[in-house]
Symmetry: C2
Subunit: 502 residues, 2 copies
C-alpha cells in the first residue's frame, strides 16, 4: 500500500564552493536518490527551506505527497519520523476524527467526536442550506465545522504527544451537503430541482485554504459525491465494506441522520436514501445521545420489568445511543409493556410513569423512553424496512439472494442485529449474514489516507452507482404503513423474530 | 504558439431532470467538447461556478491554463473575450510592466514603469539583503514590489479599458535577488559564500498567494535563475535575442543596475556579470533619470557648444536617460570640451559652469553634466569594455569572431551604438553587427506568456550556461585602468572611433 504522504529523512551534503546547488534543488536531489522525481515545491515550502537546511547541518525531513507527480509539501530541520494523518467523518449531527499512522499503515488510538456545531446554526440539512442565503451564512457554517475539526485534531495530537502542525494530510468524508459546506461551496441547488451539486469531484484543497491547523500545504482530500443524494460518506462505506469487490450480492445500510441503502456486487451498485430520520442518532428521541462516554449502549429488561444496561466509559449514564434504543424497543415489546403499535399497556409496572410528554418507561433517573420516542423509532424502523423491501423488489431480487448485510453508522458497531430484526427494522435473514461495520464513513476516510489506490477505487465505485428515488411512490406509502407495527403487520415476514428473544 | 492561458466561451445545456450533471462537471464537459481534458478545478473556482452558470443562462467564459495537464482557473458568467496577461521586468532600480494580448499573441500598448519602491528601503541589492535580517524586513520589501506591480497593472488596465481582476496570468523577470524578494524567499545566502540561492526554479505561484490583484488563481510565472549571479532577466534576454538558436557567435550585453554579458551560440553559452554599476540607469549621475517622459534621450552639441536634444514625450526635459549620457560624453569629447581623461578644458565656452560639485556642462535649466558624472560614466564604460575583453579572451575568441552584438537594457532601445563605440564602451566592430534589443528582460517575460514553449526554451538555455567570475583577477584591474580613457589608452583598438563622429 502506498500512503498519501511519506516523510523522508535526508542527510544532505553541505553547500560549498564546489557544490553551489541551491537549497531547494539540493533537497530535490536528495529525494531523487530515494527514487522520487519531484519537480519543484510550493513557494511557501521554499520559504522555509534555507533555514531548515542550516538549522541542523543539512539534515532535514522532507514530506512528500505521493502520486504520479509527487509533491514536496514540507521541509523541516532534523529527523521528524512521526507521520500521522487525520481522517474525518463529517456527519450532519456528529463529527468524528481519527489519527491515522501513515508509517504503520493503521488507525492510531481511539477516535474522538463531538456534536457538529453547525446544528446550533441549523438543526438539519435544509435549515443549513437556507442559512446560506444570509450574507456570510455559508462561511459561518464552514468555519463552525472547521473549528470543530481543529479542536478534535488538537485533542488527538495532544493525546498522542505530537504536534498538529506536523500532520501532513487529512481526508474528509461527508454527505454531499456537508462536503459543500466544508469546502465553502454554495449548497443551494442541492435541495432545489433539478437537485445538482456544485461539483461531484473537488480539486486539490490545501490545509491552509481549508483553514485546518495541520501542515499548511497538507492535502485535504474531500471524498467525491455521486450526486445530491449519495455523498462521499456512502462511497467510503462501500469501500470499507468491500462489497464492490465481491461476486455475491450485499446490502449496506448506513444509518446516520439519514439512512442510505446500497445493494450490489462487483458488477453493479444501486443506491437509495431512505427517509429514516435522525431518531437513532440522538437529538430526536428525548433521552437519545451520541455513542459517546455516558451513553447507554445495551439494555435488557428482566421479568420484574427492571432494566439492566451497560454504559460507554466509566461514567454514570447520561442518555441512550441508537443501539440501546433498538434494544429497549425490542425488550419493551418482548416483555409485554407495549403493544404492536408501540403503546404502553397500562398497569403492568410502576416503571411506566406519566411524564409531561405522556407515558414513559423509566430507564434510570431522568432517562425516560416516552411513547413519542417509541413512535419516532417505529417510524424510523418502518421507513428502513420499507426502503429495503422496495429497493430489492425494484432490482428484482429477494432477501434470500443477499449474501452479506452490512450495517454501518456511528452506532453501527454497537447495534445488535438480532434486536434490530426482532423489531422489524432489518429483514429476517440468517443472523450470520449481518456484519457490523461501525463508522464506515470514517473507515473509508482512513483507507483513503493509507492507500493511494483507495481513491481510485472510490472513483470506480462512484462510476458504478445508479441512484433510485424511493419515497415518491404510492406503493411505498402503503408498505410503510404496513411496517408501522412490531415486528410487522405481516408476521410471516418475520418467522424468526420471536425466537430472537429467547 | 500556445499561450499560457486561453479563455473559452461556453454555451452549456441547462441543468434539468434529464441532465443532473453537477455545475463543475458541466463546465468540464463543455471544455472537453473544445478538446480540453481538465480534471477538476481549485476550490476557489468551484465556489463561484454555480452563480456564474445561473447568472447568464448557462453561458460562461472558462479560463484555462494550458499545459500537459490543463487547469481551470476561472469561470465567469457571459462572454469575456478580453485576455490580457501582464509581463513584468522586475529590475533592481526600475519596474516595467507591459500588457500582453493573449488573443492576438502580441504585447498591447506602451509599457509603463516606475522606480522600484524597494530603493527607498535599500538603495542597492546588498542593502536590501541586509534589510531582510530585520524582523518583517523581507515581507516589507516583497510588498513594496508587489504594490508597485499592482499599481502599474491598474494603470495599464485603466488605459486599456479592462479590469485587472480579469487578467489570467503574469510573468516576472528579474535577477536572482529580485526574484527571491518577490517570492518572499530569504536572499541571505545569495551574498554569502558559497553564494547559493534558496532555489533556481520556483514551483507554482498563484496571484492570490503572490498578492497580485489579478485573477486570484492566475499563474504567476517567476522566470528561473541559473545561480546567484545569473537571474531570470538574463535568461529572458537570451531568449529574446534568439542567440541560443544561432550557429554564429553572439554577444549580449544587458546594461541595467549591473551589466551582464553573455557570449555563445546554440551549442554553448558563457555568462559573466560585469561591475558596470548603475551609472546608466539614472540615480548615480546627477541629472540622470529613467527612460520615461521628460527624459532627454539623444543629444548633439553644435560648433558653438550649444546642445540640441530630443525629449521622450511631449513635456519639458527633466533629466537624461542612459542613451543621452553616452551621446553627451561622446559629444563633449568630440567638440574638445573635455580631454581623454574626462576633465573639462577651461575657457572654451560659458556653457561649462561651476557648480557645487565642480565644473559641469549645462544642458538645460537645472540639467547639468558634472565632471563627477563623467567620471562615473567613464568607470562604467571602462568596466564594460574590460569585461567584454576578458570574457572573449578567456573563451579564446576575438571581437572579429562575433556575428551579432545585442545591446539590451531599459535604455537599450534608445542607445546609439556608434556613440557607445566612440567612447570606447562597446568594441569597434562593424556597426551593422549591433542589434538594439531594448528591454530584453521584459521581452522575454512577454514571450513566456505568449508561448508555452518559451519556458522550455528558457530551461534549456539555463542548462547550457557556464558562469565565469571576472572581477577578481589582477589582469582585469590593469585592463580596466587602461580603459579609463576616451576612447581608450590604446587608440589602435578603436580605429573607427573618430570616423563615427563625422
Amino acid at each position: 500500500m502506498t500512503p498519501l504522504v511519506k516523510k523522508y529523512f535526508l542527510k544532505l551534503p553541505q553547500a560549498s564552493d564546489d557544490d553551489k546547488t541551491p537549497d531547494l534543488e539540493r533537497v530535490l536531489a536528495g529525494l531523487r536518490r530515494e527514487g522520487l522525481d519531484v519537480e519543484s515545491a510550493p513557494v511557501s515550502v521554499i520559504r522555509k527551506i534555507s533555514s531548515a537546511l542550516r538549522d541542523n547541518n543539512f539534515e532535514v525531513t522532507a514530506t512528500v505527497r505521493l502520486s504520479e507527480k509527487p509533491e514536496l509539501i514540507g521541509v523541516e530541520s532534523g529527523g521528524r519520523p512521526d507521520n500521522f494523518g487525520i481522517a474525518v467523518d463529517l456527519g450532519t449531527t456528529n463529527i468524528v476524527c481519527s489519527l491515522v499512522d501513515l508509517n504503520s499503515g493503521s488507525p492510531a488510538g481511539i477516535p474522538v467526536s463531538d456534536t457538529n456545531p453547525q446544528t446550533a446554526i441549523g438543526e438539519d440539512i435544509l435549515a443549513r442550506i437556507h442559512h446560506c442565503l444570509n450574507p456570510g451564512g455559508l462561511d459561518e457554517l464552514r468555519l463552525a465545522a472547521v473549528g470543530c475539526i481543529n479542536a478534535l485534531t488538537e485533542k488527538l495530537a495532544a493525546g498522542a504527544g505530537i504536534s498538529a502542525g506536523d500532520m501532513p494530510c487529512a481526508c474528509i468524508s461527508g454527505n454531499t451537503t456537508m462536503a459543500h459546506l466544508f469546502l465553502g461551496l454554495d449548497p443551494y441547488n442541492i435541495c432545489r430541482a433539478p437537485y445538482v451539486p456544485a461539483a461531484n469531484r473537488f480539486g486539490d484543497f490545501k490545509a491552509r485554504d481549508a483553514g485546518l491547523n495541520i501542515m499548511p500545504e497538507a492535502p485535504v482530500i474531500v471524498l467525491p459525491n455521486v450526486g445530491s443524494y449519495v455523498g462521499g460518506d456512502v462511497l467510503a462505506g462501500i469501500l470499507a465494506s468491500g462489497m464492490a469487490d465481491r461476486e455475491g450480492i450485499s446490502i449496506l445500510v448506513d444509518v446516520g441522520t439519514n439512512a442510505e441503502i446500497i445493494v450490489g456486487n462487483r458488477d453493479w451498485l444501486v443506491a437509495c436514501a431512505g427517509a429514516a430520520g435522525p431518531a437513532l442518532e440522538g437529538g430526536v428521541v428525548s433521552s437519545g445521545m451520541r455513542a459517546a462516554p455516558g451513553a447507554i449502549d445495551r439494555i435488557t429488561i428482566d421479568k420484574n420489568y427492571k432494566p439492566s444496561f451497560s454504559v460507554i466509559g466509566d461514567v454514570p449514564p447520561a442518555g441512550m445511543c441508537g443501539s440501546a434504543l433498538i434494544d429497549l424497543l425490542s425488550e419493551l415489546f418482548r416483555t409485554g409493556l407495549i403493544d404492536g403499535r408501540g403503546k404502553f399497556i397500562p398497569g403492568r409496572t410502576e416503571r411506566v410513569v406519566g411524564t409531561e410528554s405522556g407515558p414513559a418507561y423509566r430507564v434510570a433517573d431522568s432517562i425516560f423512553f416516552t411513547e413519542k420516542d417509541i413512535e419516532n423509532l417505529i417510524r424510523t424502523k418502518a421507513a428502513m424496512y420499507t426502503a429495503l423491501t422496495v429497493i430489492i423488489s425494484e432490482i428484482g431480487i429477494t432477501f434470500d439472494d443477499i449474501e452479506s448485510f452490512f450495517v454501518a453508522g456511528t452506532f453501527g458497531e454497537y447495534i445488535a442485529a438480532d434486536k434490530a430484526v426482532s423489531i422489524g427494522m432489518l429483514p429476517d435473514i440468517p443472523l450470520e449474514k449481518f456484519r457490523l461495520l461501525g463508522n464506515s464513513s470514517l473507515k473509508g476516510a482512513v483507507m483513503a489516507i493509507l492507500d493511494l489506490e483507495a481513491i481510485q477505487r472510490i472513483e470506480k465505485i462512484s462510476s458504478m452507482i445508479t441512484y433510485k428515488e424511493l419515497n415518491a411512490s404510492a406503493e411505498f406509502m402503503s408498505l410503510y404503513r404496513a411496517a408501522m407495527f412490531l415486528p410487522h403487520t405481516d408476521a410471516s415476514l418475520f418467522p424468526n423474530a420471536y425466537k430472537l428473544w429467547l
